[in-house]
Each structure stands twice: as C-alpha cells, then as structure tokens.
C-alpha cells in the first residue's frame, strides 16, 4: 500500500466537492453554513461603537476595515458626524441600504439594545467584540443568556461575544480589535485557525507571520453563544484556501456534532485543548477511579477521528506548519541529509525512539551507496544519515537529493543546515525544485539563530517547513507522517 494511493493534496477542489456536506448532514445544514459567507465575506459593514479615540477597540476595527477598498464601512456612534473620512450614523436604523455584517463594540450593558436594534433593521450577521459576559461571573452570565435567547429566537448568526474578531486574509477582511502595528498579520496562505482564546491566537498569528507561513482564516469564537467550533469547522470546509486547521478549545460546545464535523474532515485538524487538568480532576469517574478522566476520553476520541493533538502552544504551531507541506509521503523511508554529523545522528535516534511505527531511517542499498560515493568527495561516507560535512556546498545537497529521488529510496526528506563557507541561500530554491519535481515531502532544521530568520522564511515560501531544533523537526515530521498514514489506512478500510 502506498500513501500516494490517496493523493490528499493533489486535487483539493475535487476532494472538497465530495467531502463537503456529506450525506448525513442535510441540505438545510448546508444552507446554514453557506449563509455564514455573508458574515465572513461581507461587502457592507456597520461598526456600532465606532470611535475617534484610538484607545477604543471600535476605532481600531474601523481602521482595519478601512484599509480594504472593497468594503463599505458605516461607523455608528451618536457622538460623531464623521469618522476617518466616513459619514458616522447616530443609529443603525439611519443607515441606508443592506448591511451584511454589524460589529458591536460597546460596553456589555449596552449590547442587548444594540443587538435588538440590528434585528429591527433586518441585519442577519453580528460580530460581538464586547466582553463582560459569562467570563466575568453571574451577572455577566445572566446578560449572556438573555442575549442568547434573542439571538436564537430571531435566527441571526453571531460570532462572540468576548472575541478578538476574525480575519479573512485572502480577501483582506480584518475585523480584529488590535491594530496592525500592535501585531503583525500573516500573509495569505493555507493555515486557518479557530480559537477560543484571543491572546493565544494573536501569538499564533504573529508566529506564523514570523515563520513566513500564510493564513487563510482566523475565527475567534469567544463565548460561543451561536457560532461554535462546529459551525466554524463546517464553514472552513467551504474555503478553497484552507489546507490545515489549528484549533484551540477550552470546552466542547456540542460533542456529538463536533465528532460528526471532524469525521472525515478533508484537512488535518491540530487541536490544543486548554483546561485539561482542572477538568480532569472534576471529571466523574467510576467509583474505582480506574477508568480515567475526561482528557483521556477526549484523547481517545480525537485519535479515533485522526485529529492531531498538540500538548502545548509550541506543538500547535509546529504541527500546524508541518501540514503546509503539499505532498503526502509514499511510505515510511526517511533519508536524513545534514552537514553536521551530530545533528544527523540525533535526528536518526529520535526517529527510531519516537516514531518507529511511522518512519524508518532507511538503510541505503549498496547500489545507491556506490552512486552516492561517486557524487561526493571521498571523505564523505555514503550512508544514511548522509553527512555532507562542513565542506558541503549547495551542489552537494542538490545532487544527493536528486539522486535519492531518482532511485525512489526517499519517501520523506529531513535535512539540516549548519552554516559554513560554501553554502548560500540559493540552496533553498534548489532543494525546493527537486522536492517539487519528485513530490517528496521535505522538512528541515536550522539551529543556528543567525541563519534561522532568513532560511525559515525562504523555505516557508516554498512550502517546506523548517524548525529551529532537530527534536521539533523530527516530531513535526512524524506527526505529518502519522496523519497521512492513518488517513490512508482509513480510506483503504472504507474501500474494502
């Protein structure tokens, strides 16, 4: 069985067509998710609580939205006649024409009225930034319940409250209450993120930007009074750019529907679950206490769904970035190419210790060793890990990779780069071209801080994830291989 039998990334459009809205979800659900397009791709946006005071979230939201010439912005605030070059309206009902999305950024005690005004004006999609609801205690919870009631009674769609907002990078729609100078947004790309925490998402997005990895959507769930992870995941099925979803959750809203949404999801989902420990201790267990707490159950069910579990924020970033690689592995044979012997040996150790089931540092056949020997200086021993030594050149890397690719001996390439006198940034282009030509999934590590910034970004632009440590690179590679292996097995099972 080869993993390429199922080319997950070969024709994303086709796969999406078959997997989006599988038969068990009915037409109505499909329509409901489709309708979220107005919320996430609006053309007309009203901002209730727009402000001239740059310290207020409403001001930053207007500023972020203003930068998109395709969006018609209607600031709403009775205090102003105009704001940032736009006419400012006293009430939402004063706005002429249809509004796709209303953003509410007013103090919590004014939110209920604002929502009711929007409903009266026929607005169907709301983003409630305001905080001060269930997250602050009983009084907030009561307000939130009232809000929830009016929302569900009127069948409108709401993201929030208490959310950072959302970003649709490909269409340049940025509805986040932090300015672009406060944190750097990633370029358009194939990672999407759904998060129940704003700060975790800010860090994640800036990390993506720093690593040169692109973003499609960020969706901040906040307190989830209407749109939850279930709707967000379903919506992202319809996004043509998304190829991996990073998910941060503290609680599941509707476990059964979450299960159904994740089952046969077209893309890898990397989940970081917060609140594992306290939930574990609160969990009801058998009187013997032997069966284990809720995280153990969640872990098992996630494994059943082939979701990738991250145990901390670093793993969330590393594993998510791994799935930017567009080629599924053809098998479990790994070749390690390095110009630092020690790093290569550690990589081989870690692969065997941690990922023995998924990956094998392949023993090179003698015919390949001979060919390899003929391409390299005599002082290099032609075995795997291939140590090109500190005398390595761009040409060494490229010729070795190309030769191994031609011999079909390398299912996964793990390479490491340590600075020397001969290598330069052109090696990136070269490695990328060979891997693209032979569709080899490639992962790298660059430990030297002075090299990292430049190389990691350059490789990222070629969809090759590179990590700042051998260990992180090995774990990301193993996670990538495992997901594809399980996915392939699942599909083989379904066909049988």
């Amino acid at each position: 069985m080869t993993l390429n039998a199922l080319s997950m990334h070969a024709a994303p459009g086709e796969i999406r067509k078959t997997l989006a809205f599988s038969s068990r979800r009915n037409h109505e659900d499909g329509e409901r998710i489709w309708a979220l397009g107005k919320l996430f791709k609006p053309r007309t946006v009203a901002v209730i609580g727009a402000s001239a005071n740059p310290l207020k979230p409403g001001s930053r939201i207007c500023e972020n939205l203003s930068s998109n010439p395709n969006i018609i912005l209607y600031p709403v605030n009775p205090k102003y006649g105009s704001l940032a070059g736009h006419r400012c309206y006293a009430r939402i009902s004063d706005i002429p024409g249809k509004i796709d999305l209303a953003v509410i950024s007013v103090p919590a005690n004014l939110v209920q009225n604002a929502v009711e005004d929007c409903i009266k004006s026929g607005i169907k999609n709301l983003l409630i930034i305001s905080s001060g609801f269930s997250e602050v205690g009983a009084a907030g919870l009561e307000m939130e319940k009232k809000l929830e009631e009016v929302v569900s009674k009127n069948g409108i769609r709401v993201l929030g409250p208490n959310t950072l907002g959302y970003v649709n990078t490909h269409e340049g729609i940025d509805v986040i209450f932090l300015s672009k100078t406060a944190f750097q947004r990633p370029l358009p790309g194939c990672v999407s993120m759904i998060s129940q925490s704003g700060s975790l998402a800010v860090d994640f997005m800036e990390e993506l930007a720093y690593h040169g990895t692109g973003l499609s959507y960020f969706i901040g769930l906040g307190n989830k009074i209407d749109i939850t992870e279930v709707e967000a995941l379903e919506y992202l099925r319809t996004d043509l750019h998304t190829r991996v979803v990073a998910l941060y959750l503290e609680n599941l809203s509707r476990g059964n529907e979450f299960f159904a949404a994740c089952k046969n999801y077209p893309h890898p989902i990397v989940l970081l679950k917060g609140g594992r420990s306290s939930k574990g201790s609160r969990a009801a267990v058998l009187h013997t206490g032997r069966m284990g707490g809720n995280y153990k159950i969640l872990k098992g069910v996630m494994e059943q769904l082939n979701l990738v579990l991250a145990s901390d924020e670093v793993e969330l970033l590393d594993y998510t970035r791994a799935f930017v690689c567009p080629y599924p592995p053809n098998g479990r044979r790994v070749v390690i190419i390095t110009n630092g012997g020690g790093n290569g040996i550690i990589a081989a150790d870690l692969i065997e210790e941690r990922w023995n089931e998924m990956m094998e540092v392949v023993e090179l056949p003698s015919s390949v060793k001979r060919k390899l020997g003929s391409k390299l200086p005599a002082y290099i021993s032609p075995s795997n890990p291939v140590d090109l030594t500190s005398e390595s050149t761009n040409e060494h890397y490229l010729s070795v990779i190309e030769m191994l690719a031609e011999e079909r001996i390398c299912d996964i390439l793990l390479f490491g780069i340590t600075p020397n006198e001969h290598l330069n940034a052109n090696v990136v282009r070269g490695i990328a071209e060979v891997c693209k030509k032979y569709r080899i999934p490639a992962f790298g590590y660059v430990k030297c801080p002075s090299l990292q910034m430049g190389l990691i970004k350059k490789f990222a632009s070629e969809n090759i994830p590179v990590y700042p440590s051998v260990s992180r690179a090995v774990n990301a590679t193993g996670t990538f291989a495992k997901w594809h292996f399980e996915r392939c097995r699942e599909h083989a099972g379904n066909r049988a």
């Binding site: 476990g255 069966m291 098992g300 059943q304």
Partner: protein, 209 residues
C-alpha cells in the same frame, strides 16, 4: 445504585460475555455445598454485597480454594460478613487481565474504554477510549492503541486472538444501545480470555441516578 455482581454478570452473559461456572450459596445451605462442587476444580468465593467496593482488600474475596477448603472459607466469611449470600465461582488460571468499560461522557455520550486490567490499570493507566458505536476494524484499532496489545502480537510468545475482545466490545455496545437509558457506567475488570471466549471475572454497573 449498584446491582450485585451476580446480576451484572447475568446481564453480560446475555450479551455474549461469559462468566465462570458459579454457585450461589444462601446461608441455610452452607453445609450442603461441598457435595455439589466438582472435586477436581478450584474456586473463588465472594460475598455478594453491592456496597462492598474493594472486596479483596477487606477479605470478602478469596481465590484459588480447593473443594475441601470451601467449607472452612465459607464459615470464615460468615463470621466476618454475617448472613450474606456467597458467590462461588470456578477459579480460571490466567496470565493476562484486561479492563473493558463503557460510560456516558458529558461531551461524547456513549464511550467505551479498553486496556490492561487488574493492577496494570492502576499502575500504567493503560486504557484507551473511543466513542461508540465502533466497527470490528475500529475495535481492533482501539486494542492496538494500548500497550497490552503486545499480547495479541507475539509478546512472550502470546498470540491472543482479537475475536473474543471484539465480541465483548460489541456486546457492551449492544447493552448501551438497548439499556443506555438506565445505565450510566459499566466496568469489567478483570476481563480474561478463556477457551477463545471473553470471560468477566468481576463486573460492576452504575445505574442512572
């Protein structure tokens, strides 16, 4: 509220999970029991009381008793635990114990758990969970996610068959499917494999409050 072990095992037996051959001895018949028991076998004696949770720890469970010793052990149990009926079961020698359980989870509703039983459960927490229902293939995958699964793959020359475990899990699923409205948790520990059949050596159920 807990059902007695005897009742739980009866229920399991109706769903394909066997129990050891057994005799229930009311107080009045303690003296007659020895004549009924087969002489070549060895026995396990348990006080039937749903309120006793850790029977072995307080001596309400005695294992590997010969027929000749049964009378003496019964007398001893009566002295310590009073007029309670005693469950006598055939003692089945075995090396590997599993745990199999199911419960209603707040997020995923019916979930099933499988792993290494007996002290392995406590020592290593070697148990994995899945949301029910599972297909046969998914059950095998669940089993293979545990460390104890080595005994299905030749560890120490042990080559257990998956079939009895599949049968037991399917049985548990059917119980939750049909009686899920009243059962909140169910645990078989230890579950053993004997003569290619799943056998529950101990089992507990917690009914919905």
């Amino acid at each position: 509220m807990l059902e007695t072990e005897h009742e739980v095992k009866q229920l399991l037996e109706n769903y394909g999970i066997k129990r050891p051959e057994y005799w229930i001895v009311p107080q009045s018949e303690f003296s007659d029991i020895q004549g009924i028991l087969p002489p070549e076998k060895r026995f396990v004696l348990k006080v039937l009381d749903a309120n006793i949770k850790h029977k072995s720890e307080i001596g309400a469970l005695v294992v590997d008793v010969s027929r000749d010793d049964v009378g003496r052990v019964l007398e001893n149990l009566r002295c310590r635990f009073g007029e309670k009926p005693v469950l006598i079961e055939e003692y089945i020698p075995h090396s590997i114990e599993f745990i199999l359980g199911a419960k209603k989870d707040e997020d995923f509703e019916g979930v099933v758990g499988f792993g290494g039983g007996g002290f392995l459960t406590e020592l290593y927490g070697d148990i994995v969970f899945r949301k029910m229902p599972l297909t046969r293939e998914e059950i095998v995958k669940m089993v293979n996610s545990t460390r104890i699964s080595a005994v299905f793959k030749g560890f120490r020359n042990l080559n257990y068959d998956y079939e009895p475990v599949i049968k037991a899990v399917l049985g548990i699923q059917r119980i939750f499917d049909e009686k899920g409205a009243v059962i909140s948790e169910l645990e078989i520990n230890p579950l053993i494999i004997s003569d290619s059949e799943p056998v529950a050596l101990d089992a507990k159920i917690i009914l919905n409050k």
